[in-house]
């Protein structure tokens, strides 16, 4: 994400230009929706979370420190909302309800659907902190450095935590028939 463009859009929103906020929504809706989807395992909940996140961001934009990254700020709001949603729901929706969020495209064959479902189930078995790391790095494709910035920890710590999280994920995937028996 381009930080300069984000800052310019934030400035316009603060000056009363709601269309600029629409541009911010367009830039971040995919990331936030996918983060919520993979963390919650339910597309409807993910949509609710994404909508609430953007409304809160719009209402509180005047409190945003423009010296920091907009993505870090909205990511924090998202994580809080995801946790709220989990607390409210308590139970996890069955996977057939959870996925898919959209109709499978031609490239999404049966094998891919099964694999995605298995990964999602395995993710839901992980602790929240482990799940967050795997989602950020492997599914949302954030670099170690970007994750380190988001979490305010050294890059080395991210690598070490990710190592453990992947090991745990592998165990859960094996139970679902992925990887060596």
């Amino acid at each position: 994400m381009n930080e300069t463009e984000d800052d310019e859009l934030v400035g316009r929103v603060l000056a009363g230009d709601d269309a600029a906020f629409g541009d911010l929504v367009a830039r971040y809706q995919g990331l936030i929706f996918n983060l919520a989807l993979r963390m919650l395992g339910n597309a409807e909940d993910a949509r609710d979370v994404a909508q609430t996140v953007f409304m809160k961001a719009w209402r509180k934009l005047s409190t945003f420190d423009r010296g920091s990254r907009f993505f870090s700020w909205i990511y924090r709001i998202s994580l809080n909302e995801i946790l709220n949603q989990r607390r409210a729901r308590r139970t996890t929706a069955p996977l057939d309800e959870a996925l898919p969020a959209t109709e499978p495209g031609p490239e999404q064959d049966h094998e891919s659907t099964v694999r995605t479902a298995a990964v999602q189930e395995a993710l839901m078995e992980l602790r929240q902190a482990d799940r967050e790391l795997v989602v950020l790095h492997h599914l949302l494709r954030l670099s170690h450095r970007e994750i380190a910035e988001l979490h305010h920890v050294p890059e080395k710590t991210v690598k070490s935590r990710l190592f453990t999280a992947r090991q745990r994920l592998e165990v859960h995937l094996r139970r679902r028939g992925f990887g060596p028996s």
Binding site: D18, N34, Q51, W58, A101, T116, K159, L169, L173
Partner: protein
């Protein structure tokens, strides 16, 4: 058994994240470790599985829903601002009205033939004994509670851009408390054994009678729901004057 250091390097290699130095080190080790080569294959399979999970498109309606909600909220704020110049006059007018009605009412309550029923009711005259405002994405409800013989009367102003559902239920311990909806155009009511549900969309006014024969404080749990969110709250009606 592969030690942690080599396992870590193997993960980095499989993920394509090893630095040139790390890569050289682990590849040199792999030349002499069949177990390491097998593990490398396993980890590469894991990474392929993860890489196969593609991002999902955000729902097409998400952007529009957010922007509509913002537009509605801006409009609400503007209306609130426009009403503000008159806001100072409202409490004064309400107080004058309360006095104008309360004086004849209190005379009637003290001296009239029906006074025992009324004097034993909840606190107050015309001024509300409780007032709450509940907001959720797409709807708001203002509730004013007034003292009434044998309990209270709730006046609800429902304002919903989304279909809303409001569930009211007396808390545990309020077994004798009963809620009854008065007819209200555009508001659907469903009475259950322990709760009352009101459903509406748009702007409506509804009334609910609260029958509380025991006279203690009454707590009513409220849950306001729309397709965009839900909110829980409690309405407290004070005990009757003793």
């Amino acid at each position: 058994m592969i030690d942690r250091e080599h396992e870590q390097l193997l993960q980095l290699l499989a993920a394509g994240e090893a630095s040139p130095a790390e890569r050289a080190r682990i590849e040199a080790w792999l030349e002499h470790s069949a177990e390491g080569r097998r593990r490398r294959a396993e980890l590469e399979a894991l990474m392929r599985t993860l890489a196969g999970v593609k991002p999902v498109e955000a729902p097409a309606r998400l952007h529009g829903e957010v922007m509509s909600a913002i537009a509605r909220e801006r409009l609400d704020r503007r209306h609130a601002k426009e009403r503000r110049p008159w806001a100072f006059a409202l409490p004064v007018a309400a107080a004058l009205l309360a006095v104008a009605i309360a004086i004849p009412w209190s005379r009637h309550a003290l001296h009239g033939p029906q006074s025992p029923d009324v004097s034993g009711s909840l606190v107050g005259g015309v001024a509300p004994i409780a007032r709450e405002e509940w907001r959720v994405e797409g709807a708001s409800v203002t509730v004013r509670a007034y003292a009434a013989p044998g309990g209270a009367r709730l006046v609800l102003e429902l304002n919903a851009s989304q279909p809303l559902e409001l569930q009211l239920a007396p808390q545990e311990g309020g077994a004798a408390v009963r809620l009854t909806a008065a007819a209200a155009a555009g508001v659907q009511t469903v009475a259950g054994p322990r709760s009352l549900i009101l459903r509406a969309a748009g702007e409506h006014r509804a009334e609910v009678a609260v029958s509380a024969p025991q006279g203690g404080p009454v707590r009513i749990d409220a849950e306001l729901r729309t397709g965009l969110g839900r909110r829980q709250a409690t309405l407290l009606l004070p005990a009757r004057d003793r």
